[in-house]
């Protein structure tokens, strides 16, 4: 029957039109989103600064004092034989959590808005952009948002003295920044890919409640996962958040080994890769039916 076989119209390169200098298609989508963000950033900036401030004061400093004085202080690791202060243990993990929360926040309702409410995805794909360009542009935008919020968090951490001069050149905490971005992307890619399929927004609150909160609590942010019962420990190990938390912490404290760095990076990259593959399919299904 079919003389025509469907081909995904999405192309990532500057294959379309115009001068050779015209940017790749996904970058055009990213630029559009940044133009929009220039109008709407004020609403998000307050929570970007306030959230880390509150959690560092409440958990790191206030709770930290009690923990550091208690009998379990050594549980959070030792450096040069001395227990790591709880604030130093917690802060890089909260950095990874900020990355996750930013990524999830930017990957659900805004995607549904572009797909169903304002339908700007449909406008994008009527231009030279293809469905994969639209997806990739969104991923890059969320990546930048994660990087931005993580940088703000790192700044607040520094102000609170929650950064230890560790790692190469004493800048280990700075290395945690790209890792936080990668952690964010490990959430953003599959969640954006999934969100575009949704007809209603009911699934989104479920993700916050049943995915984000449990990860926040059980992925090694507040205590080492070795404290978890043996049976549920593997669950923590498969979450991207644990890999992000462990790597950010290892880099910030200067305790990371080359092997663990590679393992975490490989795992997070694999999740991003799987998310990109999935998103290419879901965006094509929705936008090029």
């Amino acid at each position: 029957m079919s003389a025509v076989t469907p081909v995904p119209p999405g192309t990532v390169g500057p294959t379309a039109i115009g001068p050779a200098s015209s940017p790749p298609m996904a970058i055009r989508e990213l630029r559009g989103l940044l133009t929009n963000y220039r109008r709407t950033w004020r609403a998000s900036i307050v929570s970007s600064v306030l959230a880390p401030l509150l959690s560092l004061v409440a958990l790191g400093m206030s709770l930290g004092k009690i923990v550091d004085a208690g009998p379990g202080a050594h549980t959070f690791g030792t450096i040069d034989g001395r227990p790591v202060k709880y604030l130093l243990f917690l802060a890089p993990a909260l950095l990874a959590n900020t990355a996750m929360q930013t990524a999830l926040g930017e990957s659900m309702y805004p995607v549904m808005s572009s797909m169903k409410w304002q339908k700007t995805f449909h406008a994008s794909i009527a231009s030279p952009l293809g469905s994969f360009d639209v997806f990739l542009g969104r991923v890059l935008f969320v990546g930048l948002r994660v990087l931005m919020n993580s940088a703000i968090f790192l700044g607040v951490m520094t102000l609170f003295g929650a950064v230890r001069a560790a790692g190469p050149g004493g800048l280990g905490a700075l290395l945690a920044l790209p890792v936080a971005a990668l952690t964010g992307l490990a959430f953003a890619t599959p969640v954006i890919a999934w969100a575009v399929l949704q007809d209603r927004d009911t699934g989104f609150s479920a993700v916050f409640r049943f995915v984000m909160i449990p990860m926040f609590l059980f992925s090694g942010t507040f205590f080492p996962v070795t404290q978890l019962p043996l049976v549920i420990r593997p669950l923590a190990y498969v979450t991207p958040l644990w890999h992000g938390v462990d790597l950010c912490r290892g880099l910030a404290l200067g305790t990371a080994t080359a092997g663990s760095v590679l393992l975490h990076l490989a795992y997070l990259s694999a999740v991003v890769g799987a998310g990109l593959w999935y998103g290419a399919r879901t965006f094509r299904r929705r936008l090029n039916p």
Partner: protein
């Protein structure tokens, strides 16, 4: 008036005879939505050609396959069968290149509500890889054309439906497209707003832009289209200019008569009216369409037909003689009433 003529890239197409769009046996079949369900054939093998400078319309009831056809032409929905060539290119291979030279006004506005009017055009121009200065100049021209210059820095959200539609039209022209595709450009607009949009589209037509549009408004098709096809159930039921179609499928005039709502008079009139068909006399009725609210008698002389109706002793509560319109063609071809 601003220069809205087609872009300089027009020269890319080889000869003036070569159609801008050519479809042969074009099909679109959607897979079943449920497991074990039936696939749905939206477009069932249609042939058409679009020539440079013309306004070509797809007329049809909802679900006729118009929008699916537009989406295939717009390179956002792959064809499942047949051949489609747009600007001499194959949408399976060169969708991005083709889309760079198209303008699309979708059925539902897809504007960014969080942005200003001007910024919507900026974002869109950047999708096409246009430079900021180029976009700024073009934006001024286009907003003037759609009469939104004074709204350039307003947010989009509070604009009226008609204004949003005009902004969408301006946006679709940002890349100086060679073909402008409009999917039901005036659906959902109030009469005033419709007339403003028609006026703008007519100006585009005058300036030589090639338009392809879908509509289920007969007056829209009649006013704007040089040529049109009537689609029904995924197929093309007829093709021609509005005038040709009216001549081919209708009579010169139509007599509309109405009866009291109780239906008794109407039932009684049925047989008497049927006797008027094909008498060969002056005022002879070509055929009769029975609609829920009225009866249409197709005749080349409506007044004489009315006299003949009165001659049978039938007394309608209201009568109207009018010229045949595309609506009559449409009713004849797609089976009386509009499908919703």
């Amino acid at each position: 008036m601003v220069d809205l003529s087609t872009s300089p890239t027009s020269a890319r197409t080889a000869s003036s005879e070569e159609p801008l769009i050519k479809a042969v046996g074009l099909r679109k079949v959607f897979p079943p939505t449920k497991r074990g369900g039936e696939p749905f054939t939206a477009v069932d093998g249609i042939d058409f050609e679009l020539r440079r400078g013309e306004v070509f319309g797809f007329l049809g009831p909802n679900g006729a396959g118009k929008s699916s056809t537009m989406r295939m032409i717009g390179c956002v929905s792959p064809a499942t069968g047949g051949e489609l060539s747009i600007l001499g290119m194959d949408p399976r291979v060169d969708s991005s290149k083709i889309k760079a030279r198209l303008g699309v006004v979708p059925q539902e506005d897809s504007l960014d509500m969080e942005l200003r009017v001007r910024e919507n055009l900026l974002i869109y121009g950047r999708y096409f890889g246009l430079k900021r200065a180029e976009i700024a100049a073009r934006t001024a021209e286009l907003l003037e054309f759609v009469q939104l210059s004074d709204r350039a820095d307003s947010p989009v959200e509070p604009l009226s439906g008609g204004m949003k539609r005009r902004l969408t039209i301006a946006r679709s022209l940002i890349n100086s497209p060679e073909i402008l595709i409009l999917d039901e450009p005036t659906t959902g607009l109030d009469p005033q707003a419709r007339h403003v949009v028609w006026d703008r589209l007519f100006r585009l037509k005058q300036s030589g832009t090639t338009l392809i549009l879908t509509t289920h408004y007969m007056d829209e098709a009649e006013q704007l289209c040089d040529r049109l096809v009537v689609m029904d159930h995924g197929r093309i039921a007829a093709e021609g200019s509005p005038r040709e179609l009216i001549e081919r499928y209708s009579t010169r005039e139509v007599l509309e008569i109405r009866f009291a709502p109780d239906g008794a008079d109407r039932a009684a009139a049925g047989a008497a009216l049927a006797a008027l068909v094909g008498t060969g006399e002056r005022g002879a009725v070509d055929r009769i369409e029975e609609l829920p609210d009225r009866i249409l008698l197709y005749s080349d002389d409506g007044e004489a037909a009315l006299a003949a109706v009165h001659g049978t002793g039938t007394v309608p509560v209201a009568s109207l003689v009018r010229r045949s319109s595309l609506e009559d063609v449409f009713l004849h071809l797609t089976g009386r009433t509009l499908v919703d």
